[in-house]
């Protein structure tokens, strides 16, 4: 299986930079400008309605870590990483089926389950690499600007995105078990990603609708920059992702490979 993972990672080298660089540069910029906007920001935040602050996880923004959380890690990074995750598994499975690559791979003595597992594992590594590149650039931004970002807090914030994004990779595998069209897989799971985000947002805005958050993985995302990683949520969400991927692998095994 290692050979399959390595081959897929080789194909995704560009993707690590294509996603890691912009996310990292944006985060670095956010961190770098914090010292110059700190005062004005604090004043503006004080005027925001409490519900809005609650919904978007906007605290006092009295330090750069909270600013990074509010600007990048509560919306842009998780949504981008979730989309990248589903796009990666879709290109590794349905994309490979469409291009004929899967026919060739499955002419070799390797089971479909292994192909799925390697695709999921390669996506997990790719996500980790993208988040690591983003973290490294963010740290550089802080160092260059003297913003004083806590590396531990930033590490927790970026690392916390990983299991969340993996859930969408796993959902991509589940959908691949029903359709081998890349557009269908990517489009439907991207829709679920947005729907889950909105459901979580609505639930936080209106306590009466809190129940809708139970259907969203974002409910368990938290704010790791401020609170640190919740091991239970981190492990639970990762386990859900692995479980969904296993279900998807079973469905994929029963699926006809047509082109």
């Amino acid at each position: 299986m290692t050979a399959l993972i390595v081959a897929q990672l080789r194909d995704r080298r560009r993707s690590v930079l294509a996603w890691g660089l912009p996310l990292g540069l944006m985060s670095a910029l956010v961190v770098a400008i914090y010292p110059s906007v700190e005062e004005a920001l604090a004043e503006a935040i004080r005027s925001y309605p409490e519900a809005l602050k609650e919904a978007f996880g906007i605290g006092d923004l009295s330090n750069v870590e909270q600013y990074l959380e509010a600007e990048m890690l509560s919306l842009i990074v998780p949504l981008a990483a979730g989309y990248l995750a589903v796009r990666s598994v879709a290109s590794g499975l349905s994309g490979a089926a469409e291009s004929g690559r899967l026919d060739v791979l499955l002419s070799a003595p390797v089971s479909r389950r292994r192909v799925v597992a390697s695709g999921f594992a390669a996506t997990a590594v790719e996500l980790a690499a993208v988040l690591a590149v983003s973290l490294a650039l963010t740290a550089c931004g802080s160092w260059l600007s003297g913003a004083g970002l806590s590396l531990g807090a930033a590490l927790a914030g970026f690392a916390n995105v990983w299991p969340l994004a993996l859930v969408f990779a796993a959902l991509g595998i589940v959908v691949t078990g029903a359709s081998l069209r890349t557009n269908v897989v990517t489009g439907s799971v991207a829709g679920v990603l947005v729907a889950m985000y909105v459901a979580d947002l609505v639930g936080r805005l209106d306590p009466g609708l809190d129940w809708v958050r139970y259907g969203s993985v974002f409910r368990y995302y938290g704010a790791a920059v401020e609170d640190g990683i919740d091991p239970l949520a981190f492990g639970g969400v990762t386990a859900v992702a692995v479980g969904l991927a296993a279900l998807g692998a079973l469905a994929f095994e029963r699926h006809d490979l047509t082109r």
Binding site: A3, L4, A7, R10, D11, G95, A96, S99, G100, R101, D103, V104, L105, L106, S107, A108, P109, V110, S111, R254, D256, L257, T258, R259
Partner: protein
């Protein structure tokens, strides 16, 4: 034990029939041609045999192993060239080869370099930059590099230039000598005739016939054109066994003939013949023969 054995192999795509009740057997060391027009069910049969599609009913056994439950063990022993071979656009043939060699536990590339030299294949350029024919050469190398016991080739010469087609046909002969069983699908009668021991004909998803190549061609209708130096009795020729659609014009008689030509040749020899042409049967003519037999 047969290398390939299918029994009532059937595949429906929803309500649409792919193949139905395909029962055939391919013996070890045999080169078996699977002949049919586009859309007849050749690829569906191959993909169902190789567990890429799941049969709606019936079964396939390769090397005595069940194609569904033991597909990994089967694939250890086969080489497969899928129809319209592809491996993504960015990967080169060498990268694909390296991955497949590792999956098969083969050190180096087996005989890939020798094959690449023989087929003038470029293993280093990204496959997306290669023409269809050059991509097909890479596909052939990937199917052959590990000396499989069974080669499954779906339209292997499509896109190859005539010289490479010749090289391919020679290679199939060598594979047979090595003891390899070859299952090759094609819609080119010439190609099948030259390398295959037996031929299965599929049309509209059903196996119409399985015959030795000589029997197949012997039964097929051929178009015969004979020019005579003297008047002939057209009615006599028309009454000969196997003669149909006979027409005469300007001292030339044109007709279709099927089966044993002995009686026809002897009847023609009673006249002074100045020219004879017996056209090779086309695939459609072969099919026509078998359809008429079944009606």
């Amino acid at each position: 034990m047969a290398t390939i054995e299918t029994e009532d192999l059937t595949k429906f795509y929803g309500a649409k029939r792919g193949i139905e009740d395909v029962t055939l057997s391919v013996e070890p060391g045999e080169v078996f041609g699977f002949l049919g027009p586009n859309g007849a069910g050749k690829t569906t049969t191959i993909r169902t045999m190789l567990d890429l599609l799941h049969p709606s009913r019936g079964s396939a056994r390769l090397f005595g192993l069940d194609s569904r439950r033991e597909s990994v063990a089967i694939r250890r022993r086969i080489g497969n060239l899928p129809g319209d071979f592809g491996f993504g656009k960015r990967a080169s043939g060498r990268e694909a080869l390296s991955l497949l060699a590792r999956l098969r536990g083969i050190e180096g590339g087996g005989r890939a370099e020798r094959l690449a030299e023989r087929f003038h294949a470029d293993l280093d350029r990204p496959l997306g930059e290669l023409s269809r024919g050059n991509r097909q050469k890479v596909g052939l190398i990937l199917a052959l590099f590990h000396n499989p016991e069974l080669l499954v080739l779906d339209e292997p010469t499509s896109g190859l230039d005539p010289l490479m087609q010749e090289e391919f046909l020679a290679l199939v002969g060598e594979e047979r000598e090595r003891g390899c069983t070859v299952f090759v699908s094609s819609h080119e009668l010439d190609e099948v005739e030259r390398v295959c021991d037996r031929v299965g004909i599929i049309r509209d998803g059903r196996l119409v016939a399985v015959e030795g190549v000589a029997e197949l061609l012997g039964k097929a209708q051929r178009r015969v054109s004979v020019e005579f130096a003297e008047p002939v009795d057209a009615a006599e020729l028309r009454s000969l066994p196997g003669v149909t659609e006979l027409e005469t014009a300007d001292g030339r008689v044109v007709f279709r003939a099927s089966g044993d030509l002995d009686a026809i040749v002897k009847a023609l020899a009673r006249y002074r013949v100045t020219d004879v042409e017996i056209a090779h049967p086309t695939l459609e003519e072969v099919f026509l023969t078998y359809y008429e037999e079944r009606l």
